[in-house]
Amino acid sequence: MGVILDSVSFAIDGQAILSTVSARIPDGAVVGLLGPNGAGKSTLLRLIAGIEAPDAGTIRVGDSDVAALPRRDAARLIALLEQNASPGVDLSVEQVVLLGRIPHRTGVLGSFGGPDDQRVAAEALASVGAESLADRAWHTLSGGQQQRVQIARALAQQPALLLLDEPTNHLDVSAQLSLMSLVRHQVGPAGLTAIAALHDLNLAAAYCDHVLLLNAGRLVAAGPPREVLQPSTISDVYGVEADVIPHPRDGHPVIVFSEPAAYFPSPFPARAAKSSLRPPDTDSMTARASRTEDET
């Protein structure tokens, strides 16, 4: 489902986290939400999920104004994968995936579980290739497996919009690629749209159809990664030098970074500064030692 952000602003304790962010997110796309730490990525995801309401502006998911949706209706439309989520109790993988069915339970009797719950949960687990993990305890899984199971939980919600907050954090290279590829494969056919906050610009360039680049709460650029991820833009937002080269195998943009000139302090003043930092009492002790030597 497509998302329309219309001059969305949000502040915490008077400090602006997001300022008049407007963007149109195409239906059925994998969208990367990029920006330095503190740019407002996680906050924007929380607002799109409807967990918090913007101070000004509106967010529409499909035809609905998210802030006006009842919580349960929002949860049937939008699934959110948090960063570093871990349960407070020992849950099995199957139990974690079944959590995704909660928004579909209604009324007093419905709270005892619908007939479809088991089937939908099993299908969700199968679609992320984790059916063999069903009986495992959550805390025995690797980071990559946990994220896969979280995606299965989110799919069990049968959402139209999947939000992922830095889903590849702390994962090894292979797990990062397979997770992004999994998201890529879930999106599109069933009308699912995914928005992922990402730190790795190369993952975004490789897997996203569309990226939003945030800096200090403002939208700096939006569009296909090839257009947004220009060396000058990266330099402006992240303060690092970048070159964009084509991937040797399929030609998608690859960004290589260099430290900006400002990161290289001249070695000579640095060394001079170091020598002046020698503790003064060492000097006086050496002096005293030499004096006593003289006296003897």
Binding site: G88, D90, I102, S111
Partner: protein, 344 residues
Amino acid sequence: MRQRRNARRAGYAGWLAGAIGGLLVACAVAVTIGPADVSLAEVVASITTHLGLPGGEVDVLTDSIVWQLRLPRVLTAAAVGAGLALSGAVMQSITRNPLADPYLLGLSSGASLGAVCVVILGLSFALPAAAFLGALAALFATLSIARVGGAITPARAVLSGLAIAQLAAAGTSFIIFWSAKGDSYREILNWLLGSVAGATWTSVAVSASALLLVGTFIVLAATRLDAFAFGDTAAASLGVNVNATRWALLGGVALLTGAMVSVSGAIGFVGLILPHLVRGLVGPGHRRLLPLVAVMGAIFLVTADTVARTLFDPRELPVGIITAFIGVPVFILLIKRMRGSAWA
């Protein structure tokens, strides 16, 4: 998957049926135990007579021991045990704190203070309401102190609970010393350590109706409690109104704890131990957990109270001493199992 699920469902039904059977047996046996010998047949005869059912004859003295003394006490212990265990289970889930318990977080002591305040004013009819307000105030104070300077971690919550519990206990002792004549030590002990020695049919009515009312409400919220497994944001993204649910359930816990404390004083550790024990048996899903926690809590406190009144017969221990002897080692085990982030 389905076969496994059916097997598990049968397993759970077995646990619950077994526990309910166990509770009936524990209650019946507990009524027969005491200074005067009463047989199981006499217990049954007395109960059936009072319920107007056909049954055996029983002599007046035995009947009054069973009906006036032991049965109200055993039933009160059962209701209080169930209520405290349920309270602990809800608090642990909703605060994601394995050490949460109405006693450790100060609710029980707050309820005792509220109860004692109205007792000395001679307003005993307001006892449950005052205990509820005391529990609510203590809960609010504990969470407020725990929130000073950062997020509420389990360790902060327990430390704040300790401070509030100490303050409320000091207040309770002070009021009793200041007002009471004669045997005030015993009265202080009963409020602070907990005892069901003074239980009457009124105690049964108060504790059982609170259990039925709040317990039903809590069991119906089982699915929403499940949603809190990954924290507040996750619960919200699963469609739960986090703040409304949290305050409704914590208010329910305060009501339940208040009602229980108003008839038994502050009995510790029931709410801490039982949820962990039962999670070990049937897993953390609340639809299974909550009913079994209530029944097991009832069995636990009926048994503990029977031990408390017979171990040093004819002298009686406050039952809170027994629950503490069992609960503190469990507390230490839990701390040993908690690592890293939970304490940060």
